[in-house]
Amino acid sequence: MGKVNNNVPLEYSTEENNLKIFGFWTFLGAEIMLFGTLFASYFVLEGRTGNGPTGAEIFEIGPVLAETFILLASSFTIGLAIHAMRLGSKKATLSFMGITLFLGAAFISVEIYEFVHYVHVGAGITTSAFTSALLTTLGTHGLHVTFGLFWGIFIMIQIAKRGLNAVTAGKTFVFSLYWHFLDVVWIFIFSFIYLKGMM
């Protein structure tokens, strides 16, 4: 576990955690490239709709706004969870993480509705290059959120069982970075896929 430094927040208190947080930032660099590539491909294929519908024909502002508010709210609540963690309140940390994951699940539900809608209006993943790129980009983000739900649950179990210590604090902090990152990606999806597509 290495030396413990008590002058910094719990998640930074061990060498092992410092390495993990740094490594995770590096991983986020790779994630930026991953989503960057997806966006670039989307922009290349955006107008290539073949015989299928265009974005303006299938996008619905309602669910998209709902998704946006839900995900932004969850980014706020994971921030509160980290704040609670730094104050040392296990109960508040768990509550805010719970709310975050609940919001994440709500986001996924709306997204599933949205996907069903796309398929229903004839914009399945095999319809055209545009729909392939659209659903793959959204789907990759959605899979990340889904993975985050499982990950968050496993961290909550550990906090509940072992309390807040350097290990669980480090994991929670890394999870919060991941969650914020997904929110940032969504802002790009909202602005450059939906708003641009509807205009």
Binding site: M1, G2, N18, L19, K20, F22, G23, T26, F27, G29, A30, E31, M33, L34, T37, L38, S41, V44, L45, R48, T49, G50, N51, G52, I125, T126, T127, S128, A129, F130, T131, S132, A133, T136, F150, W151, F154, I155, I157, Q158, R162, V167, K171
Partner: protein
Amino acid sequence: MSEFFAQFAVPHPSTLIYIAMASIVLGSIALVAIVTYFKLWGYLWREWITTVDHKKIGIMYLITALVMLFRGGVDAVMMRLQLAVPDNGFLDAQHYNEVFTTHGVVMILFMAMPFITFFFNFLVPLQIGARDVAFPRLNNLAFWLFFMGMGLFNISFIVGGSPDAGWTSYFPLADNEFSTSVGTNYYMLALQIAGLGTLMTGINFITTIMKMRAPGMTLFKMPMFTWSALIANLIIVFAFPVLTVALAMGTMDRLWDTKFFAIGDGGMDMLWANLFWVWGHPEVYILILPAFGIFSEVISTFARRNLYGYTSMVWSMILISVFSFAVWTHHFFTMGQGAFTNSIFSITTMAIAIPTGVKIFNWLFTLYKGKIVVTTPMLYALHFIPLFTLGGVTGVMLAMSAADYQYHNTMFLVAHFHNVIIPGVVYAMLAGLTFYWPKMFGFMLNERLGKATVWVMSIGFVLSFIPMYITGLDGQARRMYTYSDAAGFSTLNMVSFVGAGIMSVSFLMLVWNIWYSFKNSPRDIGSDPWDARGLEWATHTPIPHYNFAITPDVTDATSEAFWDSKKNGVKLFKGEIKDIHMPNNSGQTFILSVFFFIGGFALVFSMFTLAIISLIGILACMGYRSLEDDHGYHIHKEEVELIEKKYEKEGGAK
């Protein structure tokens, strides 16, 4: 039932493939029998498969790389044999397609990549005075994912058929319509799994180098190889996700009929070419920069002086890494992107020659002021400089986009990239292998045999590839499986074949050297047989699993800390021995990667139930790991002192 098994049959069988199948089956049975007879399973599992020791993981990469060098080499010889005489019937067109595809993939991704990863693993922690990498278990997982990807790719030619759309796998050729066998599925999924492992390596080593350097080692005091490793790993982290996305799209196009690269419905085949080379060009520098790092270590050691122009070496590598992302379009100058785009990419491509030239001159100045000792590693370096420069010059020729319309898709191009990759990467890897062999295994490779190997290899190389420049300029297309006598390529192609044969001999000489030296070389060589300069030589041979009993302090030293301690009396090991914290071994990572292998295999054959089962297995492994509490163990002070005493008594080290 018979339908189920029919899908695994090879679509274009031939005698050669049947022989390969039989030898693989017999070889596997023999291997299992030997391991069982000598009761080695437990040893393999405890000491190797589950290991988190960066040195052992490195050696596993090395073994994989050497085996793949053999496989890719056999592919190469088959191609040269097929082209040795006009109208040859040794391989038919389909088999030739498969052979050049697998030769390319195997050599780049499953030979060169593990070879440099071996050096990352083995050397970087030693050079920066660390006990291990930042994430030892991730390191083990990265190896096994890479290994499973490699395995998946290699079984393609006996189960279901090899990929045959070229190592670049351009669409629409790689789509179902033109590549009907499952071969290209193998390509997409095997590269995906191995690429995940590579990304993990990248993250691991960036963290290791940035966060775990010995006290006093600032960035500009890092040994040159560590610098090259840092830059190469940064390129890995930024380039590999692009490949991940491209391969995912390619897989979906083939398995689920999405339209990314399709011919109709808006699909765009050029998107594949762009994405592939946005990864593929930086990939070249992921390979060559660590190779430059190795040459820098070897040349400064055997010129007996410090490297000329350390700072300019570092900055030129940084510049190369930036440029490497700005040149990908030169891989398709002739695909109709217009003069303006071609000009931009032509200029950026040529610009890379500048920092590379700086490096060449730095090596030359190091030699010029040095007292050269010609050892085997140094001989590789001395052959590298002129041969690589020739490859660089033909590279600048190819970078002229207008002229490229002549060279495009000819043997000239093939000659060029082999001319940079073989003297650049392969020579560096073999130089480094010979150089660090005593550190790894405690005995030297035979010098006479080693030097003879270098000469035979260089003669073989020149005979193989220089004729291709000429036939290429004369219009011999690459990937063409045969030609008529009237084309006039016969003599030069025969010379190439002879060259390939000579290069094979040099490979056999390397293998013989390892065996011969294992039998005959003395074992009392100490820890510094070359009179070398870096921190990696400051520990015992063989290296104890904690690397350094006391973490070295290089505050008073330069980038060549060990040299400073030998010649100027700089004290590296201050303080006293304390308890050492080490990570535990783990078998979970291996199990996890087996699930990846099964999942990949299932997707190749569209067996989705099995794929979902293995996905659940993967998630279960990750969940288990998440809940696990494992903080490693401590080697107690007394135990370390005992080990250190033992080393001193045997005289194995300083």
